[in-house]
């Protein structure tokens, strides 16, 4: 551009024809060199995405699948359990992996005098306490003499209802849904409870569920 009054250097014309590029078309603004560069980058990007995105989805897929299908397990006849103390039983959480997939649970009949009127026992004939500590997942043990659940790892203590009494756990022990079929007690899915013993979808140990914490540690598609 011949206008030299401006201090800024003259801008190049966007049209390749004006810039004197050989073989330029009328109205063409993209040089062939730029077009080839862009085309090569786009082709490389598409080719990379074509394997990388499926591979990433493959690795992340389990995050979006329900990994715990509903399953009812027979743990014994109704006469084996009482409403005074817990009886331990072993259920299979992940049958595919054998021994590591099993876990101990503590079972007793619902006792209105002890349990009161909490949401956790609504429509539940039995109380089934998970032994997964709510600090970091170690296995807790029921101590008959003190009527408390105690964790061996970091000293978490829970009372008879599974509520936190001491140590680092962030919420009461998880429970499992129960039902009776033809005189047999069956144990179903896990659920979590907050300090008021209100039900929540199962969360990991170390996840608070009181108040706003339930949104900071959200429910996930896997559970």
């Amino acid at each position: 551009m011949p206008d030299s009054s401006s201090k800024k250097p003259a801008r190049k014309s966007p049209y390749t024809a004006d810039r004197g590029i050989p073989g330029a078309f009328e109205g063409e603004t993209v040089t062939r060199r730029n077009f080839m560069t862009g085309g090569a980058l786009a082709a490389g990007g598409i080719a990379t995405a074509a394997f990388a995105l499926p591979a990433l989805g493959f690795a992340l897929g389990p995050l979006f699948e329900d990994s715990q299908p509903e399953r009812w397990q027979d743990v014994g006849s109704e006469s084996e359990f009482n409403d005074e103390t817990y009886v331990s039983s072993v259920i299979n959480l992940v049958p595919e992996i054998g021994e590591p997939g099993k876990t101990t649970v503590y079972i007793r009949r619902v006792n209105p005098d002890l349990d009161g009127d909490t949401q956790a026992i609504k429509d539940q004939p039995y109380v089934v306490i998970s032994t997964r500590c709510m600090h970091l997942g170690c296995p807790v043990r029921y101590i008959q003499a003190s009527a408390r659940f105690v964790c061996p790892c970091h000293g978490g203590v829970y009372d008879f209802e599974g509520k936190v009494e001491g140590g680092p756990p962030v919420r009461p022990l998880d429970r499992f849904y129960t039902r009776t079929r033809a005189g047999r007690v069956e144990v179903g899915d896990r659920f979590s409870v907050n300090s008021e013993l209100e039900r929540f979808s199962p969360r990991d140990p170390s996840n608070w569920v009181d108040g706003l914490w339930q949104y900071i540690y959200p429910s996930r598609p896997t559970i």
Partner: protein, 271 residues
């Protein structure tokens, strides 16, 4: 060709020895020297053939004879020591993978098989197991050296950042490798470690799901940890070590902070 190292050159004459007789005694009539020369020539030809095509010798020389600052000491070898530990872990790990089976019902037995029955199995597994601890100790010492020498400062910030990522990846190697023997200790340590990840707000529970491959420790958890331990994390470490070394070679190393390069000159000026 660079000059041959001393041990490859023909031996000099012994003082007092007469013509022909070298230090091998008079009896071989220099045949030993002749064989040596032929051996050297064959080696030099082979090395030369490769070097003519790869041209690595100028790079090698630039690296090996580069100038290092005054005060360079054993402290500056901690990075190389960590690299050596990584290589040793890589080699022993590759061979352990030949016998190990990442299946929940087979893992413990295959690890026990390595220890109890495979020739040198206990030794190789022991090197890998203790080498992991050695590597973590060395990487922390290396980081401490860089920190206390102020070697992370301009223009070496990026080297430091890559080093920190390497530290995290090394700790991830420790975490993922810990599950593989699949005994009670591994299992519960991993349960606790995954739940620690889960305690992070918002993304923590998803991270735990990713590590477990679901909401419970399940069939794919062990193979996930195995793949992370065997392929993903070591691959990233290898790539980042390359970048880290490139930066070290490009930017050079630093002198210790107590060494003041111009102190003497300054003193002289004051006088």
């Amino acid at each position: 060709m660079p000059p041959l190292p001393k041990f490859l050159r023909p031996a000099p004459r012994k003082p007092g020895a007469d013509n022909g007789a070298r230090n091998g005694g008079g009896e071989d009539d220099g045949r030993l020297d002749k064989a040596k020369e032929q051996g050297i020539e064959a080696t030099a030809t082979a090395v030369g053939w490769i070097d003519e095509r790869m041209s690595v010798s100028p790079l090698m020389r630039a690296q090996l004879f580069r100038k290092v600052p005054k005060g360079t000491s054993w402290f500056h070898t901690l990075g190389s020591a960590t690299l050596f530990a990584f290589l040793s872990q890589a080699v022993t790990g590759v061979f352990l993978a030949m016998y190990y089976e990442p299946d929940p019902s087979r893992a413990y037995d295959s690890a026990a098989h390595i220890t109890n029955e495979v020739f040198l199995g206990e030794f190789v597994r022991g090197m890998h197991r203790w080498g992991s601890t050695v590597m973590i100790i060395l990487i922390f010492l290396h980081m401490g050296r860089v920190f206390f020498f102020g070697a992370y400062k301009y223009p070496r910030e990026l080297t430091w950042v890559i080093g920190v990522v390497l530290l995290v990846l090394t700790l991830m190697m420790g975490l993922t490798g810990y599950l593989l023997p699949f005994d009670q200790r591994s299992f519960w340590a991993t349960v606790v470690a995954v739940n620690l990840n889960s305690s992070g707000p918002v993304i923590g529970p998803y991270l735990a799901d990713f590590l477990r491959g679901g909401s419970e420790f399940g069939a794919t958890t062990l193979s996930r940890f195995y793949a992370l331990h065997m392929l993903l994390v070591p691959g990233l470490i290898a790539v980042l070590i390359g970048a880290h070394l490139y930066l070290v070679a490009k930017l050079g190393t630093t002198a210790p902070p107590w060494l003041k390069a111009h102190k003497k000159e300054l003193e002289q000026e004051e006088i």
